[in-house]
């Protein structure tokens, strides 16, 4: 393999891997606080992409209740990205109130939260289908304004072309990841979040309003998931209401690989799976989907707590 191809594959892998990381962080945040996996996260990923698409002034197809609907205005992509995913974050807060809080209040088995969040995912996916049909939506070509479609990182003789959408994926993910890390490590609210993740009861005794922090966690999780969805949607297309489900599974592989509840783990896991997928040789490309899971299966057998996870000591 020559050096330029290698470089290109590394860049591709980092771009998709950073989106995996962003998406997986949404699972990680909720898991670190509630110790449950939020299965509606993949549906929020889809929803974020649809919200942003609508806010950029994109028109919907002729199926569904909102046939041919289109907002009377079109926002520039960066504004729509933030606003649309604030909406996704608010939806995630609604999901917390509807599907998680009632179970928590009863002290129910954490597995039930898995089922109820799954029910929410079924509702969202089918609601999207009911409202705007199952068509594929593509962001308009002028989404990124006057930017060229690809950037050459090599020389004229040895071009290393990287699509602009992938660069944007990588840069946006990186900015969001850094902002999140700073928020969690450097602010008072971030410290409170870590305290709740460590021990909810003690945090509450110390006067931390855990209920509000749980809502905040869901907001962040929905926001991150929605941004990941939008970036993938803008890079390829929104392939319909089930857009996020396949991605959702891969996100699970990422968090397990990195260690459940570990934020650096989610980032490392995301990049590792992104890179591993981009190095699948062309003739085996059909097996690409299995790479993440094969990785996961083997990793679990060797290191059950994940790459960067803490081993949990079982108390008697």
């Amino acid at each position: 393999m020559d050096a330029t191809l290698l470089l290109q594959q590394i860049l591709n892998g980092l771009a998709i891997g950073s989106v995996f990381a962003l998406f997986a962080l949404g699972y990680t945040l909720v898991f670190s606080i509630l110790r449950v996996i939020n299965f509606s996260h993949a549906a929020v990923f889809t929803l974020g992409a649809y919200f942003t698409y609508a806010l950029t002034g994109g028109a919907f197809g002729f199926n569904g209740l909102l046939a041919n609907a289109q907002l009377p205005f079109g926002l520039p992509f960066p504004v729509a990205l933030v606003l649309g995913n604030i909406l996704a974050g608010l939806t995630a807060m609604g999901i917390e109130r509807l599907a998680f809080k009632p179970l928590r209040a009863r002290g129910a088995d954490p597995l039930l939260a898995l089922v109820s969040s799954l029910g929410v995912a079924v509702v969202i996916v089918n609601l999207i289908q009911y409202l705007v049909g199952a068509e594929l939506y593509t962001f308009p070509a002028e989404t990124y304004g006057a930017l060229p479609p690809a950037v050459n990182f090599g020389t004229a003789e040895h071009p290393v072309q990287v699509r602009t959408t992938q660069l944007i994926m990588f840069v946006v993910s990186l900015v969001v990841l850094i902002a999140l890390t700073l928020f969690i490590n450097r602010t008072k609210i971030g410290t409170a979040l870590r305290a709740v993740a460590e021990d909810e009861t003690t945090a509450r005794l110390l006067g931390i309003d855990t209920d509000k922090l749980i809502l905040l966690t869901f907001f962040l999780s929905g926001f991150l998931g929605g941004i990941a969805g939008t970036l993938v949607g803008a890079s390829v297309s929104i392939s319909g209401p089930y857009f996020g489900i396949a991605f959702g599974l891969k996100g699970l592989a990422v968090i397990i690989l990195g260690g459940l509840g570990s934020i650096p783990g989610a980032v490392v896991g995301g990049l590792a799976i992104g890179l591993a997928e981009s190095f699948v040789p062309g003739q085996y490309v059909a097996y690409k989907e299995a790479v993440a899971f094969a990785f996961l299966f083997i990793a679990l057998l060797i290191r059950p707590q994940g790459l960067l996870g803490r081993a949990v000591i079982r108390k008697v």
């Binding site: 599907a99 179970l103 029910g119 089918n126 592989a253 299995a290 899971f293 059950p304």
Partner: protein
């Protein structure tokens, strides 16, 4: 009656198949192990039946495919699924809780991608024209119903013999169970294997019922569907998964029938027809919240005994 049976034949048969898939997931759960691998064994069983019936057992007299061949396929599928389960189980059952659930999802996904890419399973299109042993769908009950009753009886008995009690002891407290001489690994792998055998047999039968088999049968969605059967029905007694499987398979169809009632406002009828899966999802959420034990709980069978219990 004949009308009813011919209209709803396939629905009734799929309800019964779903009940067995619920039971299959319940078996490892008896020992506290949440495994979603059942969907993979189900898919494997279906492929075995589809391949055997379209490529191997192609010569038979008469129009209908012999029932005995279906039974042979089911046995082959059960043995293959059980053997694979022992291998996967020994590797994977060291994991616990969410880790085990996700490792088994990884197993299901790997099988799915494999079946999409190898020749013998027909790739993305799958295998068409699986021969029919019966003239009408409802006649599948001749196989499905005895199979359900047998597997229910089996699990009912299992809950009351030494092996089953060992499984329940592991669920309640693995360390305590180990300290009184129960071998957790042996029992977990055993439950995992039984679950795989049942799922494989159901898959083999389903390939005939559905007439076709492809990679969409053994997916993460299917696995989660089976989990919903158990958790909505109730995970503490064998009757729960059976009721859950029957009810959740009936539900979308029942909602569609509701749409046909005369005098409904048109928007409501349209919603029931096209948006019924929205209601299905909503009912799963409400079910999980309002019936955290599931619809069927062991306490339901114990009312007469509770009165005599001296400790209360």
């Amino acid at each position: 009656m004949a009308d009813f049976l011919s209209t709803y034949g396939s629905l009734i048969v799929s309800m019964i198949l779903a009940a067995m898939l619920g039971l299959s997931l319940y078996l490892p759960l008896m020992s506290g192990q949440l495994s979603l691998a059942g969907a993979g064994f189900y898919a494997l069983g279906g492929y075995i039946a589809a391949i055997l019936s379209t490529k191997v057992f192609t010569t038979y007299s008469g129009d209908l495919y012999p029932v005995s061949y279906v039974l042979i396929e089911m046995i082959v599928a059960g043995i293959a699924a059980g053997a694979l389960a022992v291998i996967v189980g020994i590797l994977a059952l060291r994991l616990r809780g969410v880790y085990l659930a996700l490792a088994t999802i990884a197993f299901v996904e790997i099988l799915r991608v494999l079946s999409l890419n190898i020749d013998i399973t027909g790739g993305a299109i799958g295998i068409f024209g699986v021969p029919q042993p019966f003239g009408t769908p409802i006649e599948y009950l001749w196989i499905a119903l005895p199979m359900l009753l047998l597997s229910m009886l089996f699990v009912y008995r299992l809950e009351r013999v030494r092996t089953g009690r060992a499984l329940i002891a592991i669920r309640e407290d693995e360390l305590a169970a180990e300290s009184i001489g129960i071998n957790p690994t042996y029992h977990k792998v055993l439950a995992f294997m039984l679950s795989a055998i049942l799922a494989g047999c159901v898959g083999a039968l389903s390939a005939h019922v559905l007439n076709t088999w492809n990679a969409r049968q053994g997916t993460f969605d299917a696995a989660i569907g089976h989990l919903a059967f158990v958790l909505v029905g109730g995970s503490r007694t064998f009757a729960g998964p059976v009721v859950g499987g029957l009810a959740l398979t009936l539900l979308p169809e029942a909602l569609r029938q509701l749409a046909g009632i005369n005098g409904l406002p048109p928007w409501l009828a349209q919603f029931l027809r096209e948006g019924r899966l929205i209601l299905y999802g909503l009912l799963i959420v409400l079910g999980a919240i309002n019936f955290p034990q599931g619809l069927i709980t062991p306490a339901m069978f114990k009312h007469h005994r509770a009165a005599k219990d001296p400790t209360t």
